[in-house]
């Protein structure tokens, strides 16, 4: 056991240690990516969902636009007032209230109460896959398929499925609109939290066909459109839809609807 047997490894490790340490510290100094602290602060205040409700391609992009592009600080709906307050504090601008929005499902096609299935489907358990086979297993081509693609996407666990139709829990929903993109039939629509009256149908197959398909479907009779005092309801290609901004919760349309598919959530 010569002393060299100890010294050689020590020298090797001194060489390696210095080499590694120098390289790492020098590299991380020279090649440091110049990031703007303010942008990082704003990104930290945002929920980081990259959902795109604010109209930008993600939280990072929205933060850059807030700091440099002067974008408004209250466009992040999932972040809600709390995120808007934090960002306004960082940016020193006045805090503006964020209009709280939530999603809802425009379909009540429960099987067997309201509608029925065309075929039994045991392929891939996803709405997207099921909707490829003759526009879905339901008799109505626009109905909810109940395989929960929207529920899988929702980060807040706000969507649950009861007897084959998705339902959104307004208390948990933050309005991030990730589910609207996941539904193949586009049944998930956005409404303001304060406005409770919604049309729970999206079937564009007109009167006679909808009556045959579903007990709850909108037949596009336009009665609601005529009676609405604020013109908030419009019937476009055989199905009614409510513009949240104009609606005042007066429920006039609910009484007059012969099919009962305008509902208060």
């Amino acid at each position: 056991m010569t002393v060299w047997d100890i010294l050689i490894p020590v020298f090797i490790f001194i060489g390696l240690g210095v080499f590694a340490g120098l390289l790492l510290s020098v590299f991380s100094k020279i090649f440091a990516v110049k990031t703007d602290e303010k942008v990082e602060e704003v990104v930290a205040a945002l929920p980081g969902l990259n959902c795109g409700v604010c109209g930008f391609s993600g939280c990072e992009n929205y933060a850059q636009n807030i700091v440099h592009g002067g974008a408004k600080t209250n466009r992040c709906v999932p972040g809600g007032d709390e995120a808007a307050k934090k960002i306004s504090a960082i940016m020193g601008t006045a805090f503006e209230d964020v209009t709280e929005c939530v999603a809802f499902v425009a379909c009540e096609g429960k099987v067997p109460e309201n509608t029925s299935d065309l075929y039994t489907y045991d392929g891939e358990q996803s709405c997207a896959a099921c909707s490829l086979y003759y526009k879905g297993k339901g008799v109505c081509n626009y109905g909810c398929l109940g395989y929960g693609d929207c529920a899988n996407v929702c980060n807040f666990g706000a969507i649950s499925l009861d007897s084959g139709v998705a339902k959104v829990d307004p208390t948990k929903c933050t309005g991030c609109t990730m589910c609207t993109k996941a539904c193949p039939n586009g049944l998930l629509k956005i409404r303001e939290l304060a406005k409770h009256v919604v049309v729970t149908c999206a079937s564009c197959s007109g009167g006679k066909q909808t009556i045959a398909n579903c007990k709850h479907g909108c037949i596009g009779c336009k009665k609601c459109e005529k009676t609405c005092p604020n013109g908030a309801i419009t019937v476009t290609n055989q199905v009614a839809s409510i513009d949240s901004a104009l609606c005042t919760n007066c429920k006039a349309c609910m009484e007059v609807c012969p099919r009962g598919c305008i509902v208060e959530l």
Binding site: I8, P9, I12, L16, A20, L23, L24, F27, S28, F31, A32, V33, D122, E124, Q125, S126, A129
Partner: protein, 196 residues
């Protein structure tokens, strides 16, 4: 040249690092949810494996073997691999941000990837020459990529399949992996057959 080909193809097919030697299972299970992440991860792993072998082999031959310090190889190798991965991460983050964003989350994962350290140690254990060990790591990397990509495809189907509640998620993935690994056993005679 034939010897190199044997090593290359046996590393890809027969002695596949993931399915036969069980190295690199953590990223194999964790990252193969989507095909895009699988491709990104396997490209990064193959690159790091090649560079790691290129760095560790000479150091072993020049520094460790002459002084018969074979017992230090684990510490020295892992230090070099960790150093190299962190440097690559810094450089990619600085010069190629889009690549960093697509690869970024997987680069630090590679330091704790058993396959990378495994291939460097096996190169020494099998007393390969430098060319042979480079081919071995290329084979290992491509084998890793092959297994990962095949498995990503299988997994996307498995996740959507109608399974009993207990088997949803990871158990189904593992049983799918067992069948894919079984299919790789079929290659065992192939390399000797082709190149004999």
């Amino acid at each position: 040249m034939k010897e190199l080909m044997i090593i290359l193809f046996s590393a890809i097919l027969v002695e596949n690092f993931v399915l036969n030697k069980f190295m690199g299972i953590c990223p194999f299970l964790g990252v193969s949810k989507k095909m895009s992440s699988a491709l990104g991860m396997s490209a990064a792993v193959t690159f790091v494996m090649l560079m790691a072998t290129a760095l560790t082999y000479p150091i072993y031959k020049l520094l460790l073997e002459p002084f018969s310090l074979d017992y230090l190889r684990v510490v020295v190798f892992i230090l070099i691999i960790a150093l190299f991965v962190q440097l690559t991460e810094i450089i990619i983050k600085r010069f190629v941000p889009p690549l960093y964003h697509s690869l970024g989350v997987y680069l630090p994962l590679i330091t704790t990837n058993c396959a990378v350290l495994g291939v460097t140690i096996l190169n020494i254990d099998n007393t390969y020459t430098f060319a042979q060990s480079m081919f071995n790591s290329l084979g290992a990397g491509v084998g890793f990529a092959l297994a990962l990509v095949i498995f990503a495809g299988v997994r996307e189907r498995v996740d959507a399949a109608d399974l009993p509640k207990a088997f949803k998620g990871i158990p189904a993935t593992l049983i799918a992996a067992s069948i894919v690994s079984l299919s790789f056993v079929g290659f065992s005679g192939i390399v000797e057959g082709i190149f004999k």
